[in-house]
Structure formats: structure tokens, C-alpha cells
Amino acid sequence: MSRSRPPNSNRPPVQAGKQDAEARAWLLTFASEEVSPEMERAFTDWLAASEENRQAYERAHRLWEGLAEVDGIEDLLTDRDNVRALPQRPALTRRLLLGGGLAAGLACAAAVGLLALQPPPAEEIMLVTARGEIKTFTLSDGSQITLGGASRVRGEFTGKTRDLKLAAGNAYFDIARDENRPLTVDTGDVQVRVLGTRFDIKKRADRVSVSVDSGHVRVMAVNLTETRDLLAGDKIVSTAALRLGPVEGFDPEKELSWRSGRLSFVDAPLRDIVADMNQYSDRPVRLGPGAPADMRLTLSFSVQQIGQVLAGLDAAYPIQVRESDTEILISDGL
């Protein structure tokens, strides 16, 4: 490859000239990557090499710029309905990723590369529950996904891949087996890859837990080659500090009981319990300053009884619970 050839230059379509494909490759390089001085020089050389190159770049550039003048482009590209349901999805995703202190990318399904050769159809998946809602969705492949309150799963199924993303909350995945179409669930922190199995993922502000109910699941940490293979009864917790923690056991009765509306905690810090309550409570539950967020509790209760549970905690522990019309505030009771 000569020095002035553009990077990532794909084979041009039959009708288009070589210059057009090269011009697009250059344009996309500058639009999408941090460009080195060497590449800048190579671009200058390429641009100066022929009048055809310059004209081709102008065409590509007109199109790229002109995209922003296409009427209603923001709706065409964002899919109006989904945007209405989740108006702040992109910003939220980015904030969560940055908040987790994560740097670069995720491990990626090897099969995805073949997609470029495949025309659509792709099936777009968007599952959402409201606060307090627990709901099971059935997908086109027969898989069933149960979402906890205030949870979101989105993704895309193609002929070759099944890619899902747990954007918020928690979900139980009962995945139909398809040897030729592995399924991945990306949580931002870890990626879970399966052929067909049952597992549970809970996404929290500072960590993600994966519990396998049946079958075999591969968990990969973001930005690392680290992977763990989990079998039925195995659980793993990933945090920004620990990356993938050790494989541990779990009690399916307690870990998975949320599906029937029951939350169970064993020696869990109050902050985690409050986080889960917030998926179901009609009003936000807030830990005030000085509240013992790290106090560890073992509790089991129905999502319908959050108010009573908090009242009970008020009576039994050194905390004070104040309810108003807009929130439930937990503060230091001493």
C-alpha cells in the first residue's frame, strides 16, 4: 500500500470510481478517529495527487454535510417511537459508562464482522418497564426476558447474531438455544455470551452481577481479555475496582425471587436495598446525609410492602424514615 492511500479503503461498489471509495475512506477517517500528523500528510498528498481525487472528496463531503439538511433526519435516524419512550437514553448510557470509570471498548462478537456482507432484515428490540412493573417479554426466537421495575433492554437480532444491551435495572434471561446465533448481553461493564441458557443480570450504579440459573454462560470484562465461564448455580460480581470478582454460589430462591415480586437480601448494605426499592417504590426512596448506607441487613419482602418494611426498619434500627408526598427519606436516627 502506498503512503498516500487512504486507510480502511474498502473495495468500491461497481458503479463508483476508485476515487469515490478513497474519498469516503478519508472523510470517515477524519470524522471518526484521532488523526496522526503522518495521516494528515498522507491526506494532503492524496488530495493533491489528482483533480479526480479532489472532486471525489468534494462529492463525499457534500453528502456528509448535506445529511444534516435532510428534513426530519433526527427522526429518521433515532426511530421516533423509541425516542419518545426513552428520551435521554444516549446521554444516560454515556454517563453510566464514564461514571463507572471505564476507558475503552467492549469485547465483541467475532461473528459480527460478517454482518457487513449481510443485508438487513434486522429485528430491533426495545423492552422497557415502568417503576414497580415486572413484565415478561417473548422475543421472535422464543426467548423470554423478564424485566424488573424501571429496567430497559434494547438490541438487535440479525440472521447471524443476537445482541442485547441491559441499559438499566435487572432482567432474567431465558434464552432459546441457537448454535449458529450466539446471544450477547452487554451491560456496559461486562458482556455475557451464551448459546442458550437461563441467567439473571442485575445492573447497579457501581457493579453488575450475573447469576446462572441453568446452562453455561461466558462473562467478559470490558476492556480486558478477562473471561469467566459460569455454570448453573454460579454467580459473579463485576465492579470497576475488582473487574471480575471470584465465582461464588448463590441461593436461587433469594436471587431470583424478584420475578414474583419478592426482594430478598442476605447481609446486604442498606444502599443496595434502597437501590432495589427504587425500582418498585411509588415514591423515590432517598438516603439522607448521615444515613447508615453501609449498614448490613438480611431482609425479604414483597415489592408491595416497601412502605411497611421501611417503617419496620425505623422501629428496629437506628434510622429515621420520613415519608412525604414526594419521597421517602431515610436519615440517621441517633
Binding site: 471518526s32 478517529e33 484521532e34 488530495l47 454535510e65 444534516a68 465483541c108 462478537a109 459480527v112 434486522a122
Partner: protein, 201 residues
């Protein structure tokens, strides 16, 4: 001052100033300034809210903040010498705002400025200071592109949105979607080829 100071078809107004070569010109200049301010105010009232709404669909709550970007786009508009030649203020404002938003990503700003410096005064005008007479695509071309975009897969649309409109690098798109950079690059290259074909045929 004349009751009818602005004279659009350049006919000389009747009355005491009719013979003066200088005075009517001054009247017109002042009137043009007044008209200009009125027109800018009109554009602001007409388009600001909608522009912020459109930007919110692209950026969410930000960053960049949709209101900041919208205001910066209006500043660019107000700095133009010839407002009358903007074909569509709505399209101009949106494109300008999107391009301003791209500059909030340090990783690609340098490259954008480099391309700008290479192209400036060369064979077509500067991207940032889009001159109103620059017609990128005609109405029919824009419609063809819209039709072609409807044919793209959801994944291709998502990549196009993130790259062209949110100014994300491949690495950033990978981080948020899990797709590999090679795949993202291939998809985007293909999208551009498809759209160009649509225009050429």
C-alpha cells in the same frame, strides 16, 4: 423621516427626498438594519424552540447541551452578511448546530480543523462558516437521501447518527454499543456508498 422608508423595487420615492442622491441611500441602509433585526427576531421566535427539540433528539440532555448549541448556531446566523440568501433557515440552523456540536469532541476537532485548512479557499468554501449561497444538495437530492436512509438497517442508522450527528469516534461508538471498530467502519463506509449511489443514479 418618510412614512415608507423602505423601497424594495428601487423606485425613487416621491416627495422632498426624491431628488437627493445621498439621502435615500441612508434611509435604505437604516431600514435594512431595522429589517435585519426584525428578521433575526422573527427567525429566533420561529425556529429556536423547534431547533432545541431537534437537537435534543440527537444529543439527549447532552453534552453538548442542546440549548448551548442552538444559541451558538443563532450567533453564526446573526453574523452572516446576507440573510436573504439562506435557502432554508431551519436547515441552515440545524446543520450549523450539529457541526458546532461536533467540535465538542476534542478527538476529532483537530482532524476537522486540518481538513478545513486543506480545503479553505481551495475548491469549496469553509464548512464551519457555511456561506448561505452554498447549496450542498438540491431538494430532490435531499429527498433521495432520505429515502435511502429509510432503507438502512437500525444498526446502520445508529452508527450514522453517532458518527455524523454526535461526532463520536469509532472507539466511542464501540464503547457504547459493543460493535467492533472494524465493523462500525465497514458499516459506515457502506452507508456512504449506498447514499452516494442513490444520488448518482
Amino acid at each position: 423621516m418618510q412614512a415608507k422608508p423602505f423601497c424594495p423595487d428601487n423606485t425613487v420615492l416621491p416627495g422632498p427626498f426624491a431628488d437627493g442622491a445621498v439621502v435615500p441611500v441612508q434611509v435604505d441602509a437604516a431600514a435594512v438594519a431595522v429589517e435585519r433585526t426584525a428578521f433575526l427576531n422573527h427567525l429566533f421566535r420561529e425556529h429556536y424552540g423547534e431547533l432545541v427539540g431537534r437537537l435534543r433528539k440527537v444529543f439527549g440532555a447532552g453534552p453538548p447541551d442542546p440549548e448551548d448549541v442552538a444559541q451558538a448556531a443563532f450567533s453564526k446566523l446573526a453574523a452572516l452578511t446576507d440573510l436573504g440568501r439562506i435557502r432554508s433557515p431551519r436547515a441552515f440552523l440545524f446543520r450549523t448546530a450539529i457541526n458546532i456540536g461536533l467540535n465538542s469532541n476534542d478527538k476529532i476537532r483537530r482532524g476537522r480543523n486540518f481538513v478545513k485548512s486543506q480545503l479553505e479557499g481551495n475548491f469549496f468554501p469553509d464548512v464551519e462558516e457555511i456561506s448561505p449561497e452554498t447549496v450542498l444538495m438540491g431538494k430532490q437530492d435531499l429527498e433521495r437521501v432520505a429515502r435511502a436512509i429509510r432503507q438502512l438497517s437500525p444498526k446502520q442508522r445508529e452508527i450514522l447518527l453517532r458518527s455524523r450527528f454526535r461526532g463520536q469516534t469509532y472507539a466511542e461508538i464501540k464503547q457504547e454499543t459493543g460493535w467492533s471498530e472494524a465493523d462500525i467502519s465497514r458499516q459506515l463506509t457502506k452507508v456512504m456508498a449506498l447514499l452516494q449511489d442513490e444520488l448518482d443514479n
